[in-house]
């Protein structure tokens, strides 16, 4: 057994986290910053954090992830990291020539109390930021929240650093896509284009984190939201923020600072949430939903009805990030499945409340925990078995030990590809999820069914 020490008996824990279902803020901030065109993320702390964040993002995307570090030593930890950061900014602009540097803090610089507003101002004052270039920043202490919080903080940092109001309204909608894959961002853009709506989506890691092999390395590839686009977000008609944990902070900030009204809703994963997304877009932009999209929707519903028998009543355990889990839970419920164990590592009472609300009519009670961990999830599974497990790569240890069909979803996925290229948002994404779940469950059925009842057609 891989997790041979995980027992059925659950002892309450107050201090020890075992097998986390979250990681720390800066990695989310780094990922968000990569969605700005020409941006070099920078980790203000010791170099280990940066090395870990780059490595983990790289394992997930199989793409280059560059980022700077302030390389704190013991001295900088005592006296503060101002000179390290200013030196780093100078070096990065000179050597790598990014358009933007996006600085986030780490536990270390937060604990020391480094003030990014003041240090970045000093970098500008000292002439370390070349004309036309930008330094933006966000505080991301990892002892608060999770990587999702870090993503959310950097989204706010982007607004804070770029958004402007000229007074002239623009016929465009801001979209905060949430902490999703580049493929998902691409799909959201495809859908809005299909509907004929002008949008500024940020961050946008498509084209950055799923770039082509061209035989030439470009540190700053074509993708990412441009500075000009970001500046214009203060003039947009409205903002749609997808996923409240990842996106509401920046959306609300745009609202209070520039009076750009925002609508916060679930990530468009699965049928119900995608319906709401398309409907909001329709209303906010005042456009009709084109037939092509209604057709895509119909295809998803078609497969859901065709294969309904394989979903009905199946119990599911899932772990990951709150925005994803909320949308997924709703989707599973819409498929007549029963989500029984749900864990996110990210803290948040709203999460638990929302999940309880979504599952209130189901035949089995749900175990749900925010700020939980995968050890607890595994123990729950040992007590009530499930037919399907959904989560990041770490889930494969549980899946193998317990022989559960497993669908990889979330961050990080380090042992498979596909997530950067095929979306799970939108109707197409719904189809992909349905396909993946069926593949996993039916492969097991095929493997386990006795010879006499082994079926050709399913």
């Amino acid at each position: 057994m891989l997790l041979r020490h995980t027992s059925k008996e659950i002892l309450e824990r107050k201090a020890l986290m075992i097998n986390p279902a979250k990681t720390c803020q800066p990695i989310g901030a780094m990922y968000a910053a990569l969605g700005v065109h020409g941006c070099m993320p920078h980790s203000h702390g010791s170099q280990g954090c940066c090395s870990y964040h780059r490595s983990t993002l790289t394992r997930h995307y199989k793409e280059p992830v560059v980022a700077g570090t302030s390389s704190f030593t013991e001295g900088s930890s005592v006296f503060g990291g101002q000179s390290n950061l200013i030196q780093a900014i100078d070096n990065m602009f000179t050597i790598y020539e990014p358009e933007v540097i996006a600085v986030h803090t780490t536990c270390l610089s937060e604990t020391i109390g480094d003030d990014l507003t003041q240090i970045v101002k000093k970098a500008y004052d000292d002439g370390k930021v070349p004309a036309g270039k930008h330094v933006i920043y966000a505080p991301t202490p990892s002892y608060v929240g999770s990587h999702v919080t870090g993503f959310s903080n950097m989204c706010k940092g982007i607004v804070n650093g770029f958004s402007e109001k000229t007074g002239e309204k623009r016929n465009q909608i801001n979209i905060l896509p949430g902490y999703v894959e580049p493929a998902d961002m691409e799909e959201i853009k495809r859908l809005t284009t299909e509907m004929g709506i002008e949008t500024v989506m940020f961050p946008d890691t498509s084209g950055v984190m799923n770039g082509p092999q061209t035989g030439r390395y470009h540190m700053f590839p074509k993708g990412g939201t441009t500075v000009d686009e970001l500046k214009s977000t203060g003039d947009s008609m409205g903002t749609i923020a997808l996923g409240s944990f990842a996106s509401s902070l920046a959306a609300k900030f745009l609202d209070t600072k520039f009076k750009v009204p925002c609508q916060i809703q679930e990530l468009p994963i699965g049928l119900p949430a995608t319906d709401r997304f398309i409907n909001s877009l329709r209303k906010m932009a005042g456009v009709n939903v084109p037939d092509s999209i209604t057709r895509e929707r119909g295809q998803l519903v078609d497969v859901m009805t065709d294969m309904a028998q394989y979903f009905y009543g199946k119990k599911v355990a899932l772990f990951g990030d709150p925005d994803q889990l909320i949308a997924l839970t709703e989707f599973l419920v819409s498929l007549d499945m029963i989500p029984v164990h749900i864990v996110t590592g990210t803290p948040g009472k709203e999460f638990t409340a929302k999940i309880l609300e979504l599952t209130k009519d189901q035949s089995e009670p749900v175990n749900v925990k925010a700020h939980g961990d995968m050890f607890l999830l595994h123990q729950w599974i040992k007590n009530t078995s499930v037919d399907l497990l959904i989560g990041n790569t770490y889930g494969k240890y549980i899946a193998r030990d317990e022989d559960i069909p497993f669908v990889r979803h979330g961050f990080p996925i380090m042992d498979r590809v596909g997530h950067s290229y095929f979306p799970t948002v939108g109707y197409k994404g719904g189809l992909r999820l349905v396909e993946k779940m069926l593949d996993a469950m039916l492969d097991k059925k095929d493997r386990d069914s006795p010879e006499e009842s082994f079926e050709l057609v399913l």
Partner: protein
């Protein structure tokens, strides 16, 4: 198979390159202060003996913003040295991330004795510090976490790792460990390996060595069976390397008391002082342990290397020579004679596909040296190499140690003062015996470093930056580049196959005889794969149109 780099069949296109010019071009982009610093860490090897070997800047601070490969002290301590031991619960005291990223990502394999014996390596433990712990201190939470780990798992050993914020808020991790050790009656100890200590992972290695030496080594005096009993130091069982080495040693009749730390247990560490020889694989990360064990327990150490078929054979012979036993010497020769022919067959096959190609290696603290053996066996030339966290002695050999300046960053890392143990010290070889063996060519406590083995007119670069990596690729167009995961895809996007030498790209083992075969095949695959030929689309290759076809 010896000296395979001599007489390359294919012309060496780098032989006349002006590397000083390339160096100057690289430095040109840097701000003056940065250029001055980096200049010391980039060295062109020169013809001549070791006296003319240039001094290289190493183990110095990384320049902020330069885009380094390096990680932190904690990564070196928890990730590298203590990660591979299966029967200890490693609690990372800090916010969640530090522990999360080190969770199973280094690929240390392990083989528990049976289905019931402890293996915690697939688990990740953290105190997941929250803001109130940062404000009010985290000692209470740590204590509680240790208690919970004990209540749930009942381990024999718990160790605790401090991350950056912990050092800053002043949690006394060691006193918590002492207290809980008393209360629970199991071995519990801590490591002050905060990420900001030192200048790289290297500081963490040292701290880990100190901690295991102080808290574990020497606790179990049982003399295990076996006539020729050794420890293997600095082998971490990435991709199963230790398993292959264990197989070979076992076939030779050499008993492995403990490996530091691939496929290891705390019990093996505790007993390791009973071995009669320490064989050091990674000079950078573990020689502290070898030296301390020599002083305290009287175990001599030699440098060996199991990367490369010829190097493996040589290392086995060295061990046999040490024991001065005819039977062992014969047995080792028998194993070598049994293993080498089939290795050689595979080597020749791969060599036919690889000969004359160029390699670059920028990784770790010993692999950038060791893997040159394998490339040499394939007839490939290493045109440029360097370490991520090596010291001058790893480049220039231990003879330079007395002349290495101890700077503030190194001074902060504790040097244990070790003395001869009044009871457990046992002289393995007298001075005279050692001298005699040395005279016969078996060097003790010696390592000549990487530079000596590089060809003339090659570039040695310490703590290489992303920019320098790109420039090297431009200048040399190597056929393969070896580094870590962070570098992998930028290099591959340039059209150059990239081999990870930390994680082996999820392959391996590459150590020993079988490992060498795996590596030959892997490099042959990587440098000859069809996939690289599709980078350009047909219309990019010949953009001119012969005729036009317009929709009307």
């Amino acid at each position: 198979m010896k000296d395979t780099q001599e007489g390359l069949a294919v012309a060496d296109k780098t032989i006349d390159m002006d590397l000083n010019k390339i160096k100057a071009q690289i430095l040109d982009k840097y701000p003056i202060k940065v250029a001055r610093k980096r200049a010391k860490q980039i060295v062109v090897t020169q013809p001549g003996d070791s006296n003319t070997m240039p001094e290289i800047g190493a183990n110095v601070r990384t320049i902020p913003g330069i885009l380094t490969q390096r990680g932190c002290c904690y990564a070196g301590c928890k990730g590298v040295i203590l990660g591979p031991t299966r029967d200890v619960i490693n609690i990372v005291h800090g916010p969640v991330g530090c522990s999360f990223y080190a969770w199973l990502t280094r690929r240390n394999q392990t083989r528990p004795a049976n289905d019931d014996s402890p293996n915690y390596m697939n688990y990740c433990f953290t105190t997941d510090m929250q803001d109130q712990n940062i404000v009010f201190g985290g000692e209470k939470k740590l204590k509680q976490a240790i208690q919970e780990a004990y209540d749930i798992f009942h381990p024999q050993t718990i160790s605790v790792f401090s991350t950056c914020p912990v050092g800053l808020i002043g949690d006394d991790v060691h006193s918590v460990c002492r207290e809980m050790k008393e209360t629970l009656g199991i071995n519990i100890f801590g490591f002050s390996c905060e990420g900001y200590k030192g200048v790289s992972q290297s500081a963490g290695h040292h701290i880990a060595n100190n901690g295991i030496f102080k808290n574990v080594v020497g606790m179990d005096d049982t003399i295990r069976e076996g006539k020729f009993r050794i420890n293997l130091l600095g082998e971490y069982n990435i991709g199963g390397d230790s398993f292959e080495i264990e197989r070979i040693l076992n076939d030779c009749g050499i008993s492995l008391i403990s490996t530091f730390s691939g496929n290891s247990t705390m019990g093996q560490f505790a007993n390791s002082h009973t071995a009669d020889l320490n064989a050091v694989m990674c000079h950078r990360s573990i020689t502290y342990m070898a030296e301390m064990m020599e002083t305290k327990y009287g175990i001599p150490w030699i440098k060996i290397n199991f990367i490369g078929a010829e190097a493996t054979a040589k290392s086995l012979r060295k061990i046999a020579q040490y024991f001065e036993d005819e039977e062992l010497i014969a047995k080792v020769e028998e194993v070598i004679a049994r293993e080498l022919p089939s290795v050689k067959v595979e080597m020749e096959k791969a060599r036919a596909l690889c000969e004359g190609k160029l390699a670059m290696l920028f990784v770790g603290g010993s692999r950038a040296h060791h893997y040159q053996e394998l490339f040499g066996e394939l007839g490939m030339k290493t045109v440029s190499a360097g370490y991520e966290f090596g010291h001058r002695d790893d480049y220039e050999g231990r003879r330079v140690i007395p002349s290495i300046k101890v700077d503030a960053d190194s001074r902060n890392i504790e040097e244990l003062s070790v003395e001869q143990d009044p009871e457990k010290y046992r002289l393995r070889k007298t001075e005279a015996e050692l001298a005699e063996l040395t005279a016969k060519g078996l060097e003790f406590s010696q390592y000549d470093g990487l530079i000596k083995e590089m060809k003339n007119n090659t570039l040695v670069i310490d703590d290489i930056s992303q920019y320098e990596t790109e420039k090297l690729i431009e200048a040399f167009k190597p056929d393969i580049f070896c580094a870590g995961i962070k570098e992998k895809y930028a290099i591959q996007k340039s059209g150059v196959p990239m081999k990870q030498l930390h994680s082996y790209d999820y392959g391996g083992p590459y150590a020993g005889f079988q490992g060498a075969v795996n590596f030959y095949q892997e490099i042959a695959r990587m440098t000859n794969s069809k996939v690289w030929s599709y980078v350009k689309a047909p219309w990019e290759k010949e953009p001119e149109l012969a005729a036009t076809y317009a929709l009307s």
